[in-house]
Symmetry: C2
Subunit: 136 residues, 2 copies
């Protein structure tokens, strides 16, 4: 799996993935010349973790023919007050539409985060990952 | 640090970061309904790691008033052949323009990846991270 990044601004980079062809623009903090052109690197990392879980939740509920119409994922990361500033704790909330069976959603979220998600499995085990699900 | 993801396709999600306001579209594999609308989650994770290092390289070389004009980062990740499939090894190559001092580039890349990068510091220490730099 390969990604190539080219500098497109003082601290801005366009990343292109060889496999999917997908693109992401990342930008730095204003202190290093960031101009708000994209997410910061650690926000991109939270996106990887949340989306990895989300894909698995979609996959599991589709196989179970659950009427999944909407799915929102909110992810929050606490970081060490140091250099470097790795994540110390991550919380993920999965919100599905009310027609989805609550028990099946809970089970899918738990399997996704704890068993299937390759992004979570790539994290330092010292980082606490908490998750919950709800319907609305 | 917070990111919110909303489902915008079968396996596609739009992520918006609260802090920077940056957006990323992530999509799943074709097997789970992905339509090639964006990077896959693990490609997004490589993007986080590479861009984190890139920001620090830019920052260090700017402080040293090195004539950094272009910077390309190529990142490659090997994954376990299992479920989940975390990264087992990651290689990062930083390519700067020829006018940058080779020794300063090498030193900046080493500091960025090994000392400053919060994304690398959030990875499982079992993952091997190798890096190199060159000018062209």
């Amino acid at each position: 799996m390969r990604v190539r990044l080219d500098r497109i601004g003082t601290a801005a980079f366009r990343a292109v993935a060889e496999g999917s062809g997908g693109e992401v623009v990342v930008d730095g903090s204003p202190e290093i010349g960031g101009e708000g052109r994209g997410m910061r690197p650690m926000e991109v990392m939270l996106t990887a973790i949340a989306s990895c879980g989300a894909m698995d939740v979609v996959h599991i509920l589709r196989k179970q023919r659950e009427p999944l119409e909407s799915l929102r994922v909110e992810i929050e990361g606490d970081r060490a007050d140091a250099t470097p500033a790795p994540f110390t704790a991550i919380r993920i909330v999965f919100v599905a539409n009310a027609a989805v069976d609550g028990h099946k959603l809970e089970r899918a979220v738990s399997l996704a985060v704890e068993k299937y998600c390759s992004a979570t499995a790539s994290l330092d085990p010292a980082i606490t990952v908490r998750f919950e699900s709800r319907r609305e």
